[in-house]
């Protein structure tokens, strides 16, 4: 259900495996996030992601549990890569399955918001301009706040 590892991610293979695992449920939404070739800091050579195990995994598991509590899902999967990556490499793959497509869309979206803002990863970009550690962007907080507004008590 959740993997954090330095192994490359093959999104197509991950989607196939997920669809096989969950059986015949109606709709599956997947999200693939890849390393961008350019950032505001320059042309990216390497993206380095650090996790703190098992705290990182525990945080993702809690987010998965929260997502499953909130939407009626038949499956949920997170694969997150750490270590050194090149532009175009897949950093994260999320998939959600549900009988109703709206639930699958919202669950995948919500989980991605968690992963992009609150998940315990530190990120370093090596660009043609130098090396920089990336800390949160204001817009990430805003997107996460979208959900907080409709949070159940």
């Amino acid at each position: 259900m959740m993997t954090v590892s330095a192994d490359p991610i093959d999104a197509g293979a991950a989607l196939s495996a997920f669809e096989t695992d969950i059986g015949g449920a109606g709709g599956i939404v997947s999200f693939t996030g890849r390393v961008r070739p350019d950032s505001k800091h320059g042309s990216v050579a390497t993206l380095h992601l650090q996790a703190y195990s098992p705290m990182t995994e525990r945080g993702i598991e809690q987010a998965i549990a929260q997502t499953e509590k909130r939407w009626p899902l038949s499956g949920l999967k997170v694969i997150h890569r750490i270590g050194d990556m090149a532009p175009g490499d897949t950093v994260v793959f999320v998939a959600a399955a549900a009988m109703h497509r709206r639930d699958a869309f919202e669950a995948a979206d919500f989980l991605m918001d968690y992963l992009k803002t609150n998940a315990i990863f530190w990120k370093k970009e090596v660009t043609d301009q130098g090396v920089v550690w990336i800390e949160p962007r204001p817009q990430d907080y805003e997107e996460n706040a979208r959900w907080a507004l409709t949070e159940d008590a």
Binding site: Y52, M55, F121, W122, W133, E135
Partner: protein
């Protein structure tokens, strides 16, 4: 002996991502640990910032939290997300 972990930009500040050392007797809390290490690394306050959270044995703690031999203590700057 405690195990210290420095994440994100703090690994640059510390010049390493982890180390094992014996704390002086005067360092018994996370607050004292921050100050002692900040001086030791000449970090100019980088380890004192409130946005830098400390985890003791894989649990985020609030200053001052006791530290003792055998602890794993992590210095965590704001997370950058996945």
């Amino acid at each position: 002996m405690v195990q210290l972990l420095y994440f994100g930009r703090l690994s640059d500040v510390a010049g390493k991502s982890e180390e094992a050392l014996t704390l002086p007797e005067t360092v018994t809390t996370t607050t004292e640990l921050r100050s002692w290490l900040d001086l030791r690394f000449e970090a100019e306050g980088a380890l004192l910032e409130p946005t830098v959270r400390l985890a003791v044995n894989n649990e985020i703690v609030f200053d001052p939290h006791p530290v003792r031999g055998g602890d794993e203590i992590a210095f965590m700057p704001p997370v950058g997300g996945g």
